[in-house]
Structures are given as C-alpha cells and as structure tokens.
C-alpha cells in the first residue's frame, strides 16, 4: 500500500464542515426538546391515563424502541408521499428522530416521576408547603436529580444518531463530509477530520452538561 495522506484539502473546507456541525446540533436539539414534550405527555399518560391511553402509549413506546430509527425515517420519507404527504429531508429526519426520542424519553421521564415517593410529598405537606412550593422545592429537584444523567447521555446519543440524516441528503456534518469527499476524493482524511469534530462536539457537550448538572441540580455526573 502506498497511500499518502493529504489533510490540506480537508482543512481548507473546515468552516464548511463546522457549519454542518451546527446543523447537527440543531437536529439533536430539535428532536430532543420535541421528544421531551412527547415524553412528558407519554409519561403522565402512562401513569395517570385510562386503560386505553396506557395501552396506546405502551404500544407507541414498544414499537419505536424496537425498530431502527433509520427504517422509520425511510418509511416517513418514501411511504408518506403515497398518501399525499411530502416531507423535506430535514423535516422527515426531525420528525422521525422526534418520534423515536419521544419513546425513549417517555420511559426516562416516567422513571423520574416514579422516583418521587409519597412520603416526601406528605412530609412537605406536614411542613406546610403550598402546592407550587412543593413542586419547586421537593418534586422538581428530585426528578431532575434522578433523570439528569440519563437525559444528558441521551442528548449525546442523539448528536451521534443525527448523522444518519446524511443518508437522506440533509447537509449536516456527515452529509457535508460526503459532499466534500466526493469532490476531493480524500475520503479517509475527510472522515477522520469529522470524526475528530464529533469527538470534540460530544466532549464539549458532556462537559457542559456535567457542569450545568452540578451547578443546578448537584448531580455528580461523570464524563469518562
């Protein structure tokens, strides 16, 4: 093998790649927060809903956590035009990843809500706390502390998972790397560079999330 590495052509495109990294974060953010809304309603419905609602949410969670997000997005992207719904690649990816993360977040949030015990609420009542006070000082800190670590892990997983948007032609980090590598034919170098960008991205996210967790909820999250 005589392969000469040439990183110069890739470094010349660094600003373009970093723009893609922003889009990656955008996809992850969107699907995280939209998924969190679904997850919140899902968790509440699973705990307090009637039988039909619980069954429905359960079916949703089981289906979406047991099938690949990639095929779900394929389905949205290729099958829905048959019934007259045309999605752009970006919306298809965000909708697919939102539905997917909603299913996972339903479970995570439910675990958090379940972790608040009745005794704690009773104690707060004995201490004469009002409803909003109880939520602010007892329930929310407790839930936050329980689910903060799984949530931040999940966000990082979403950052990595958003790379599959490239398959549908969304020009995020991986997509832009594919664009560049088809131009300069330096595939190994290009993908090595974006691998480093992904590592940096998730490291920064990990550290930032750990710091925020420590500051706001006194969670001892570990980065390594």
């Amino acid at each position: 093998m005589n392969y000469t590495f040439q990183f110069g052509v890739v470094f010349a495109q660094l600003p373009y790649l970093l723009g893609g990294a922003l889009l990656t974060l955008e996809v992850a953010f969107l699907s995280f927060w939209l998924g969190a809304v679904i997850g919140l309603f899902g968790a509440l419905g699973k705990m307090y809903g009637g039988r039909a609602i619980r069954w429905l949410i359960n079916a949703y969670v089981v289906f979406f956590t047991n099938t690949p997000a990639l095929v779900q997005i394929f389905f949205l992207f290729y099958a829905l035009p048959d019934v007259g719904v045309l999605l752009t690649p970006m919306t298809a990816v965000v909708i697919g990843m939102t539905l997917n993360s909603g299913a996972y977040l339903t479970d995570i949030l439910r675990a958090g809500i379940l972790s608040v015990r009745r005794e704690e609420i009773e104690t707060a009542q004995v201490l004469g706390m009002s409803g909003p006070q109880m939520v602010r000082f007892v329930i929310l800190p407790h839930i936050a502390k329980t689910i903060y670590a799984p949530l931040s892990n999940f966000f990082i997983w979403l950052v990595l998972g958003s790379s599959m948007a490239a398959i549908f032609g969304v020009e995020e980090l991986t997509g832009r790397a594919i664009n560049i590598s088809t131009q300069n034919l330096r595939t190994i170098e290009t993908f090595a560079v974006i691998a480093v960008i992904y590592i940096a991205l998730t490291f920064i996210a990990s550290i930032a999330l750990a710091l925020v967790g420590r500051w706001a909820f006194r969670v001892r999250a570990r980065i390594f």
Binding site: P68, F74, Y78, D82, S115, S163, A177, T187, I199
Partner: protein, 251 residues
Amino acid sequence: MWDRIVQEAPDFFTYYNAIFVLQAMGRTLGLTVIGCVTGFIFGFAIAAIRSTRARALLPLRLLVTLYVEIFRRIPFLVILFIVMFGIQAVSRGISLFAIALISICMVSTAFMSEIIRAGMESVPKMQREAAEAMNFGFMRTLLLIILPQAWKVILPPGFAFMVMFIKDTALVSQMGVVELAFTGKMFVGRGFSPFLVYGTVLAGYFVMSYPLSRLGAYLENRLATSRSRESIQRVWTGPGPVQSEPVGEQG
C-alpha cells in the same frame, strides 16, 4: 394507498421473497450476534485491563481508555466509512460483509467494555482489598470474587445493548451489505409500494428485537440488586431502559 397494497400483496408475499427477507434477517442477526460476542470478549479484556492499578500498565490503560472514549463518541456511520475506505486502501479482496463486521466489532467492543466495567465496579472495593490481603492473584480475584457478583449487573444492560445493536446494524445497508434494511431499498427499487415494503421491514426488526428486549427486561427484574442500578446509571451505553430508583435511599 390501500388498494395498491391489496393489489400488490400477492406479488410481494411470495415464497422466494420470503426466503430473501429471511436470509437478510439472518444476516442482520448474524452481524449482531457475532459483533456482540466479539465485543464481549474484547470488552472484557479492556475492562480487566482498566481495573488494574500497576504503574507499569499505565500506558496500556491510557491507550485502552482512549480507544473506548473515541469509539463511543463517533457516529457508527462515520466509523463505517472510515473502516471501509481504510481497508480498501490496503486490499480490495475483502467482502463488504467482513468490513461491516469489523466495524461492528470495533464499536461493540468499546460499548461492551463500559458495561462490563460498570459491572465490575459495582463490587465494593473492600472485597478487592480483602482478596489482595489474602494474597489472591489478579486472575483469582477476577474469576472468584468479582465475576460471580458482577455478572448480574452486566447481563441486563448487555441485552439492552444487543437490542440497540440490532437496530444500529441497519446503517450497514448504506454500504451495500444485504441485510434487512437493504431488502427494503431493493423491494422499493423493484416498484413495490413503500408502505408494504417498509412495513414488512419494520415488522422484521420488531420480531427480532422485541423478544430480546423482553428477555432483557425480565433479567433486569430478576437479577436486579440495589447495587446494579446506581452503577449502571453512571455510565452511558446508549438509551437503555432506566429503572426507577428512589434517590433518597442512597442516603
């Protein structure tokens, strides 16, 4: 849409198509199982190396930690691309399936080692020190003290990881390995309704991963110790099921 599905269904659900899909499912399962078993073996080695404390092994520990951190932070798709083009720069004779398998093993090693390490760390440090005081060697401590207690903590997230990996192998279809997600592309290319095709593919994945995730959940309930939950929550290995745990009990 419905009449199209009904009209195409007899052409779609034929004997040879069924065999084709089943073979593809077998390939998906094969990739997952081989990947997870290899990942378990190498991951175990990595976890064992990381549990040592000898100063002479420090460079090895650092190297192994670096490997784990790097491979857990790069998307699987990017790893696939790098491995594929890296290997093809060296030799052309390797099949796509082998390339996919190599990258899967590399990724699953990293994740499995974290799961196993969390399991090993769930055993209290005092026991390790007690074993040391009784002049147990490294292997004896590992096999007689740590593993008998750690496997309960390792197994449930191990299954959760395997379920995740069945789904992640779908990305392999992008480089042309004929596994379940690829059959979807192929059937759509032959002009079948995407509803029918991707519905079938989704059902295929569901059939494979649902029993496994049930088994994982069962093991989790069956084997759960108070120790296992806190230690698993400290590492992340993708979105697994989170057990509800009263925080107050930790003191």
